[in-house]
């Protein structure tokens, strides 16, 4: 299972090495990531544009309307803290499709597949001799998510390097107990443009 998972990750990451790849991401993001909004967490995202093109449509008046479209690879590192339940650390690469208008408002949607490690505090175990000991506890899971993003890219209109976004998402940790465990995550973040595509 783990070998397959590492192989898939390798394939995803390999796609970004094709062409003119630079280790420096196009954008770097930092976010608040709340499990069911209120249970706090955070995320750092390295965002690599894989492709960019313009989609031109004619309006009813015959004027051209241009939308900028992107596919992006996001490499996310983050954590969630749910008091009394679990702390989770994860690495979650995402493939994203996005579209921006000329004012910089943009939406995006994507999916991710990654790895999650949970840490379960305050765990006790009965030992073979009948004594009770505190133990370090936690599990390794595969993680997947699906999301929608809405935000504004200030570079498109104002040439400012900042972008802000709101990103509700549903994530699943698998295999879990006994099937899967779901999480609703609300992400609110900002991204800074490091280089042009």
């Amino acid at each position: 299972m783990m070998r397959k998972f590492i192989f898939v990750l390798f394939v995803i990451l390999s796609t970004s090495t094709m062409g003119q790849f630079s280790i420096i991401p196009h954008n770097i993001g930092i976010s608040y990531l709340g499990e069911t909004v209120t249970h706090p967490g955070g995320k750092i995202s390295l965002m690599y544009n894989l492709a960019q093109w313009n989609k031109v449509k004619k309006s009813k008046r015959g004027l051209a309307k241009t939308k900028r479209r992107n596919t992006t690879l996001n490499l996310n590192f983050g954590g969630l803290y749910h008091q009394r339940y679990q702390t989770a650390l994860f690495f979650l690469p995402e493939i994203e499709f996005s579209q921006s208008n000329k004012k910089g408002w943009h939406w995006a949607t994507g999916i991710g597949v990654g790895y999650m490690r949970t840490i379960i505090k305050n765990t006790y175990e009965v030992q073979d001799d009948g004594s009770v000991e505190a133990v370090n506890s936690g599990h390794n899971y595969g993680m997947t998510n699906i999301y929608f993003t809405y935000g504004k890219d200030l570079y498109i209109q104002n040439k400012k390097r900042w972008r802000f976004f709101l990103k509700p998402q549903f994530a699943i940790a698998f295999p879990n107990f006994p099937a899967v465990t779901g999480y609703f995550l609300m992400e609110a973040g900002i991204a800074y443009k490091l280089r042009q595509f």
């Binding site: 069911t36 750092i44 702390t87 305050n122």
Partner: protein, 352 residues
């Protein structure tokens, strides 16, 4: 710089996740996990631990969580908690139990081990308190199976059985349900209530001594009505919006695995498969611990006629076993007559 500060903040959050205290106090609220065979079961201890008496609550099911309900006290146990502590736990395969397991470990034997280990941890962390088990519905099957299986269960001081389901043989249960309808009809006719309706029910019962077909079950139901519809009191109320928001946004609970996953179905199927066709009542003669049996008069799922046979079968001397029928309750007496349930439980636990 800002990013590195954020990373440190994240790591800090991870490491300082609050340690829980195990204090003997009048109003405790502690949650911890018990790891058993690579699965963590969350246990919430709430109430008066200073009493040195902890009631382990084994909830209905199979496959149902309880910590979400406990968080908002949906079972109305606050009055009990002011006298003693109650330990709630999400059973294996339900709610916020965590881990990566083989579904094959969803067995009664493993559930027994879970209860055993939770009791051991409660004893160790709370300075050897007296442990009582309180169970409801299918939870009573698990509890009695545990009490019968573990010789060491002598450490349990008493068992409170709330409308417990110890007979998983459908045809036999329907025999009890048949008697239940007859007895209710006779009572209601005696009280002068809806005489025509209940006379009709009596006639139908006489002509249908065995209830096995779906049409017969539907007819049986039509005489009694559904809970809160006619004579059967309401079952556990639905969550209020405020309570649901409380669980989702402010509690320690992750509602997704409890409510929106296949976990419930998988666990329920596994356990049901194992227990179907079994009857623990003949085994109850081996139990000798103090026992309080509380039944709703209008429990249409586990009728009090069956409850009385369970009470009779328990081997405990009659001075130390009790059978209380609550006249305004159905399958969930803690919903219908919470004060009375609390009072009887507090009296029982206080006595032993």
């Amino acid at each position: 710089m800002r990013i590195s500060a954020y990373i440190f903040l994240l790591i800090g959050l991870t490491l300082i996740s609050c340690e829980e205290n195990f204090l003997l106090e009048e109003n405790t609220n502690t949650q911890f996990n018990v790891r058993i065979n690579d699965v963590e079961l969350p246990v919430l201890v709430r109430g008066n631990t200073a009493s040195k008496k902890i009631i382990l609550f084994v909830n209905d099911g199979p496959g149902l969580p309880i910590l979400d309900h406990a968080h908002i006290d949906l079972m109305n146990f606050k009055d009990i908690e002011s006298s003693f502590a109650i330990a709630y736990f999400d059973q294996r395969g339900t709610g916020n139990a965590q881990g990566v397991i083989n579904k094959g470990s969803l067995t009664l034997k493993q559930y027994n081990e879970d209860i055993f280990d939770i009791i051991r941890v409660l004893e160790a962390k709370y300075d050897q308190p007296d442990i009582f088990i309180m169970s409801h519905g299918f939870g009573s099957y698990l509890s009695s199976f545990f009490l019968l299986s573990y010789e060491d269960s002598n450490s349990v001081k008493g068992w409170i059985n709330l409308d417990g389901n110890l007979l998983i043989q459908e045809s036999t249960v329907w025999e009890y349900k048949h008697t239940f309808l007859v007895n209710i009809a006779v009572e209601e006719i005696g009280l002068g209530n809806n005489i025509a309706h209940w006379t009709d029910a009596l006639d139908w019962s006489a002509n249908n001594p065995t209830i096995s077909k779906q049409a017969q079950k539907d007819q049986w139901r039509s005489y009694l009505g559904n809970p809160s519809e006619f004579i059967i009191p309401s079952e556990q109320r639905d969550l209020l919006t405020r309570e649901a928001f409380d669980i989702i946004f402010t509690s320690s609970y992750n509602p997704f695995p409890a409510l929106w996953s296949r976990n419930y179905k998988i666990t329920a199927e596994r356990i049901s498969e194992e227990v179907n066709g079994t009857n623990l009542i003949p085994e109850l003669s081996h139990l000798t611990l103090p026992t309080l049996n509380i039944w709703g008069r209008y429990d249409d799922i586990i009728p009090p006629e069956l409850g009385e046979d369970i009470y009779d079968a328990i081997g405990t001397p009659s001075a130390d076993k009790y059978f209380e029928v609550l006249l305004n309750s159905g399958h969930q007496p803690f919903e219908n007559e919470p004060s009375l349930v609390s009072q009887k439980v507090v009296d029982f636990v206080g006595k032993y």
